[in-house]
């Protein structure tokens, strides 16, 4: 099957592989610790593990967009901020 029209690159394949890994980790985590670990953190409303992953990913996307809009150039710093942000969300959100 010719998939050249999809224009795959190593970068985008890695990006989707990481997302897929997150989903697999979440499934395994849920199997090990069922219930989604709901809690009310600094956001002021109840979040489950899945909510926290979604907030991390969505927030990371906007961190990258914000970086490109306000600063521009290489995105490694935006990625580093996103990782810190994601960890903070899982810890305190």
């Amino acid at each position: 099957m010719d998939l050249s029209w999809m224009g795959w690159t190593a970068f985008t394949a890695t990006f989707f592989a990481v997302i897929a890994c997150f989903l697999v980790i979440m499934i395994v985590w849920e199997k090990l610790r069922p219930g989604g670990a709901p809690k009310v953190g600094i956001l002021g409303f109840e979040t489950t593990r899945g909510d926290r992953l979604f907030i991390s990913l969505l927030g990371s996307a906007f961190i990258h967009i914000g970086w490109l809009f306000f600063i521009g150039g290489i995105l490694w710093w935006a990625l580093a901020i996103s990782v810190v942000y994601g960890l903070a969300v899982f810890k305190w959100a």
Binding site: T9, T12, F62, L68
Partner: protein, 291 residues
């Protein structure tokens, strides 16, 4: 005795999952792939990194379309929500007129979007349309094809005509669910019409209003067909909203890379706003359940 959980039913979801994979996930992956590359056709791609994203985020064209889109959604909400509540309050609660009113309210919702656009395009024309003809007869200077303000007024009135009914029907359903005891208590207390609305009807409408605001905001934020049929995004770019601009870029100019970056940014904005609305709705639900 603890029942054994049977997970085999998940296989029933498999066809839907495959369908969604083909119709949504694979196209989304392709859009992500295109957004970081330049293409000259014949499936030849050249890596450009985040260049298209920077270009779109810093382009005046995108800012203008986003500004118009936000303004349009804000105007639509400011008109349709209060008007929908007002009409719902005026619809009789019993008798033969109830069915008539509800059928009349539901009619605009049954008309396809492109037909609504065509109806209003003809309706507003001076030569063959009733509205355009009447306005011309009254010496009103109105031309939606050449004047930006007229084009905006036409599109807003068209959307209000098409979608206020949805708010009306939701609010009417909310009002119908308020028990008579509340009104009787208000009457005994000598509450005015305004006080009854402010302290009984409006709080009881809160949940349906959240749904109405969510639906109308999201729909107006992604509007394409009606303004495209009526004005084609013009005059100039006066009614070029995000979706119209995106289609122009992707299909008109065949700029697949920038269009892919554009659509991903648009998608993220929609996703963020949907999440905000969902969070507000579910947070209120939690509070309601607790009380």
């Amino acid at each position: 005795m603890q029942k054994k959980l049977n997970q085999k039913a998940w296989f029933l979801v498999l066809p839907v999952f495959l369908l969604v994979a083909f119709s949504a996930i694979i196209p989304l992956m392709t859009v992500v792939n295109y957004s970081v590359q330049d293409s000259f056709g014949n499936n030849e791609f050249f890596w450009v990194g985040a260049e298209w994203f920077s270009e779109i985020l810093n382009s005046e064209r995108f800012h203008s379309a986003l500004g118009r889109q936000l303004l349009f959604s804000a105007i639509i909400l400011l008109i349709e929500i209060p008007l929908g509540i007002f009409i719902a309050l005026k619809i009789p609660k019993q008798g033969w007129a109830v069915s008539l009113c509800l059928v009349l309210m539901a009619l605009p919702l049954l008309i396809p979007w492109n037909v609504v656009g065509t109806i209003w395009q003809i309706f507003a024309r001076e030569d063959i349309g009733l509205l355009g003809y009447v306005l011309a007869a009254l010496d009103v200077d109105y031309n939606y094809t050449q004047n930006s303000t007229d084009a905006w007024i036409t599109i807003i009135i068209m959307d209000v005509w098409h979608w206020t009914s949805l708010v009306v029907l939701l609010c009417y359903a909310g009002l119908s669910s308020i028990p008579d005891a509340y009104y009787q208590a208000a009457k005994i207390d000598g509450a005015s019409r305004w006080a009854t609305f402010r302290y009984i009807q409006l709080p009881k409408l809160k949940r349906v209003l959240l749904i109405a605001v969510l639906l109308r905001f999201m729909d107006s934020f992604m509007i394409y067909t009606e303004p495209f049929v009526v004005t084609g995004g013009g005059p100039g770019n006066a009614t070029t909203f995000l979706s119209i601009d995106l289609v122009k870029m992707a299909i008109g100019q065949f700029d697949l890379g920038p269009a892919a970056a554009f659509s991903l940014i648009y998608f993220l904005i929609v996703l963020l706003l949907s999440w905000v609305f969902y969070t507000i709705m579910t947070a209120n639900e939690g509070k309601t359940n607790q009380s």
